[in-house]
Amino acid sequence: MIEDIMNMLFNGILNGAVLALISLGYSLVYGVGGIMNMAHGAYFMLTGYLLLWGMRIFPGMLFLTVIFVIIIITIIGGLTYILLIKPLQDTHVGVVLITFGLAFLIEQWILIVSGTTSASINDYVLFPGTTEFLGYSMFNQYIFFIIASLVIVSLFALFISKSKLGKSIRAVSQDREAAVLMGINANRVLLYTVMISAFLAAIAASLYLPGAALTGPGMGWTYLTSSFAVIILGGMGSLVGSVVGGYIMGFVTSFTSIFLPNGPSWAHVVPLIVILIVLIIRPRGLFGKKKLR
């Protein structure tokens, strides 16, 4: 029993840590620009494949590869905004469609370039082996990832509340026109926001995927839909909501897998049921301040 509970807690936190990092960026962009960036999951997936290729082409320079890939993804985030989102940002449907298209493009491009579609990138595992606690053993890389995720989320919270850019981001998210009147270049703030979100997705991927394998170029969609569910649960645009929502999804998933009959089949359905119930009671989501736009 104690092992089952540990199992539920550990994997709930692990799942939550991934979802929180991915959803945070997704939610940030929605909150600031009212933009649904459907390519967000593709950033996560692309990070994995760039790491895979980096690992094969420059096997001796793993650390440099990670840094380089994170920078590339951040830049791709920026380009997504400048080239695709900005020209269309007055039409929300347009942004959704074009970023959707970008995500497909990246996916198909990887299918064409990559000879094989699923692969492990475990050369990037920083902490191999396992640690035992209360009779339950945990993969060190996952422990590291969980800690790293908590640190990154805290630093991010600090950045948003204290830094100048953070204040500008909050100002734009609350009233774009009023923010412009304060001399804020809202487009630039939005550019930084999309870049930050891509950066967070890239960090999440480069720490989590080495212990998780690349299951195919389509895996970006799984994470996109999960984080979409998370921010609906947490409240569209709420940063606290996306972190809390991520962990709730994580715990519900692992609880379902372990304790419910036929749980593993239902592991990804029960969280959606929970979300439905939450939305019936509180249509704006747990921490939602705004109505859906």
């Binding site: 009023a178 001399g183 270049n185």
Partner: protein, 246 residues
């Protein structure tokens, strides 16, 4: 006293409707000037054109000798023009101090707060608009009059040379109007150039030494309040002008 704002032949069309039609005027540095006209006369459009929220179809706007026609809003703010909206706009979930300090981080705002520091400068602005005792609370709980003051405070945070106030008195109680009037007069005395709109003439007449009147997007008359109030076209525009002067 040089010219601070020069608007020439400004025209703005929406499809077949001409909201602003060949509109020209000048404002001198340090002036306090009102823009009047009935609802729908195009006052807010003029403000939107000056502050960059909309682009004119033709005509030019020069500020301090620089051509600012069609610049993006945040760039115009950084040149030194601040404005408020008719509807209150504020960052609902930041405190008043944070609201103003966001503005103090703008290009001109930073220069102004260089000596004191951004937070200190922002509190001094809050003190000036009479909100310093509420610095730590968010605007969601404030009454309407205080929100108006906050708007002006935020505009001041960007350290403007010209302040555009769009219908600052609408929806305020008599008492609130009084304190706001005092505040605006004080800002003017401190040397700020102020350009404000209103559709009820009486408010403006008592306040400003010079008024520009417009109707259906067109310039009608420019002069001291008394003169403008007696203009025939103005009287016609305000059908049953008695209401306007009541």
């Amino acid at each position: 006293m040089g010219t601070i704002l020069e608007v020439k032949n400004l025209t703005k069309k929406y499809g077949g409707l001409t909201a602003v039609n060949d509109f020209s005027f000048e404002i001198k540095r340090g002036e306090f000037i009102g823009l009047i006209g009935p609802n729908g006369a195009g006052k807010t459009t003029v403000f939107n054109l000056i502050s960059g929220f909309e682009k004119p179809n033709s005509g030019s706007i020069r500020f301090d000798g620089m051509n600012i026609t069609g610049l993006r809003p945040y760039k115009i703010v950084n040149k030194g023009i601040a404005r408020t909206f008719q509807l209150v706009r504020s960052f609902k979930f930041l405190t008043l101090l944070q609201n103003v300090s966001v503005a103090c981080q703008s290009k001109r705002g930073r220069e102004a707060s260089k000596s004191a520091g951004i937070d200190a400068h922002a509190s001094s602005i809050l003190a000036a608009v009479g909100l310093v005792d509420k610095a730590r609370i968010p605007p969601v709980v404030l009454p309407h009059g205080d929100l108006r003051k906050l708007q002006i405070g935020k505009a001041l945070g960007t350290n403007p040379e010209l302040l555009l106030l769009d219908e600052p008195f609408s929806g305020l109680t008599h008492e609130e109007q009084q304190t706001l009037t005092d505040l605006i007069l004080k800002l003017h005395d401190d040397g700020l150039t102020i350009f404000m709109t209103g559709h009820v003439l009486r408010e403006l007449m008592n306040l400003v030494p010079r008024v520009i009147a417009m109707h259906q997007g067109k310039f009608i008359v420019d002069g001291p309040p008394k003169e403008v109030a007696n203009n025939k076209i103005v009287l016609e525009a305000y059908l049953g002008g008695g209401e306007a002067f009541a």
